[in-house]
Symmetry: C2
Subunit: 400 residues, 2 copies
Amino acid sequence: MRIEILCTGDEILTGKTINTNYSHMARRLVEVDLGVTWGTVVGDDREALRAAFREAARRADVVIVNGGLGPTVDDLSQEMAAEAAGVPLVLHEPWLARMEAFYASRNRPMPPNNRKQAMLPQGAEFIDNPIGTACGFAVTIGDARFYFTPGVPREMHRMLDEQIIPRLLAMEGRAGVTRLKRFHSFGIGESRADQMLDGLEAMAPEGAVKLGFQAHYPQLETKLAARAADSAALEAILAPLEAEVRRRLGNFIVAEDAQSLEGAVIAALGEGTLAVAETLTGGGIAARLVQVPGAETRFRRGLVLPPMETNGATALAQAAKLRAESGASHALAVLAAVEKGGGRIAIGLVDGGGEVTREALLVGDRERVRLGAAEMGLDVLRRRLQGLPVDEAVDFERKA
Amino acid sequence: MRIEILCTGDEILTGKTINTNYSHMARRLVEVDLGVTWGTVVGDDREALRAAFREAARRADVVIVNGGLGPTVDDLSQEMAAEAAGVPLVLHEPWLARMEAFYASRNRPMPPNNRKQAMLPQGAEFIDNPIGTACGFAVTIGDARFYFTPGVPREMHRMLDEQIIPRLLAMEGRAGVTRLKRFHSFGIGESRADQMLDGLEAMAPEGAVKLGFQAHYPQLETKLAARAADSAALEAILAPLEAEVRRRLGNFIVAEDAQSLEGAVIAALGEGTLAVAETLTGGGIAARLVQVPGAETRFRRGLVLPPMETNGATALAQAAKLRAESGASHALAVLAAVEKGGGRIAIGLVDGGGEVTREALLVGDRERVRLGAAEMGLDVLRRRLQGLPVDEAVDFERKA
């Protein structure tokens, strides 16, 4: 099935807004093995939209259109869809009622402009938007099925996952439910992870699970995109693969799904409290921890220090001093210094049970050393809290 | 002139890489008043490239192609350009010599694959890449002129500005040199800045300067895109407008061009030294300051504290304590707390000359309050160092 993505809007066309909607849609389609064959960007312009619809209809089986469903005059998607499908726009009464109820629940009158958002091409398939006023819809233009989605990212994400991808899978005669399982690891590069997970897909029925990776240095995201006839079958397929990924990637997995490394640290900290001292990362470690909901009650003190000698003994001394000063149960010191071709990291951690240190030489430029130092510091803390060894070598490390 | 952007590559098509090259190119074209009418994304696929070249050639006068100039087998741009132009690929000897010299200067042999990067369509216009091994080139396909650019962002940025935009302006019979002057401000929203700069473009010869804005909360970027026959004329046109922007936006301008607010702070600090305490921003202020080159010798201590009473007196007490402990000449405390509908900010600053406080209520969600607090804290420091009032109201503030 040839699937295209057509993004509309002057903000996107002129580069004022970076087109993250495109990359999100494309990634999701690839993850469920539908793929994408072409992307187009046009502005809020009737002639351009007309041409883009015509050309996409000629090339593709399915076109997902994003944007142009708003209440203002430059939102043209419904109008141009109706023209291209050769039908008039008609009022979709249920959606108008939904919008009116939405506004009424907030004790506000519905602006008259919003009525435009309930005008759909005659005969269009209605597609629900449970969290916004721009409903989606589908029409056939030429031989292609066009799905229209809102430009607001969270509305589009949900409509794509809950409404559109299931329809596309059904068009291909594929099973009904999909799920994306994600593992976040630190310390394993993409090509090594690929080797470590060799043969994993073959543990599931053919085509049921697709393995993928996305590197955001210093983390690697490992993804299992699964589909099955129903939720029970999906669970039966995924469970052994999830266990296998955990077994093979082992201690390098720092978090799963929506959890973050810093979230895992705060969760593992339990009733403990935390203080952090850092040099090159300049507050970056504290900033990540403090963003975790609930962290404010666990975080006692952060300290950003000027450059100093970067070795385990100094890091440990800083951590011990910070623990005494702050009264926190766990004190972490992450020292880093940029050197030719990379950087030197020294981590010291003191808690009620004792102390650990970790030293490493990382490869990469200043920015990579900063990111790597923050990650390694948080990971040492996670490993200590979870009772794991803190000194397993990571792929970004070089020999002394 | 109808200008299209055609981005190639599987990483972009599948969403694995966010297409920031597209947005950069589009923004730059809009800034010099060339504009962009259409964007296309296709993968590393002969049939798709063939179709994309054909369709773009039919619609556009100029097509800027990005990517596919690398040394590997999936880099297809030269091959498909030659096919579409109906000419063979021929070796561009000067570029081969340049690449060989490049590798020789690094005492490395040139990998044989790189020879492919010197194979250009016969008759193509060579376009220099002074910082990489992928040269650009231009060919005519149908009635459109196609410019091929490398996918590496910094190589593309430079080629676009130095080589391609001047050629496009010349095609339009426009003057030879362009410049983009940028002002970064904090505290003025886009629509108010637009009003404050009303009539500015009219101070220059018609069409010579284009005023634009880009909001990245909490900063606003005000841009003057200017063009003239030569550098002297450009300078003569821009100088009075730059002075006028500085006069009208006044103390709200925190930096210009490549400088940042934190860079301006470190520059204004001179021989002084700095310590920062922060609550909600969790190290974010320290992290911004420490990233400025040279800041490591000026930054004495950063402190991330748990939530506390957020008022001017507390902030001042924290700043005074921090100054005493750290020995820094300037101590800044930025306290923030999220409240219903926004957040409360309290800033205290103590230096050799005395002390100042600033309190504010900001509108927006938690993330906006964090960003606004960090920005306002740094801006109070900048204003103090530059001898400006620290309490001018900003647009994101609400009444108590």
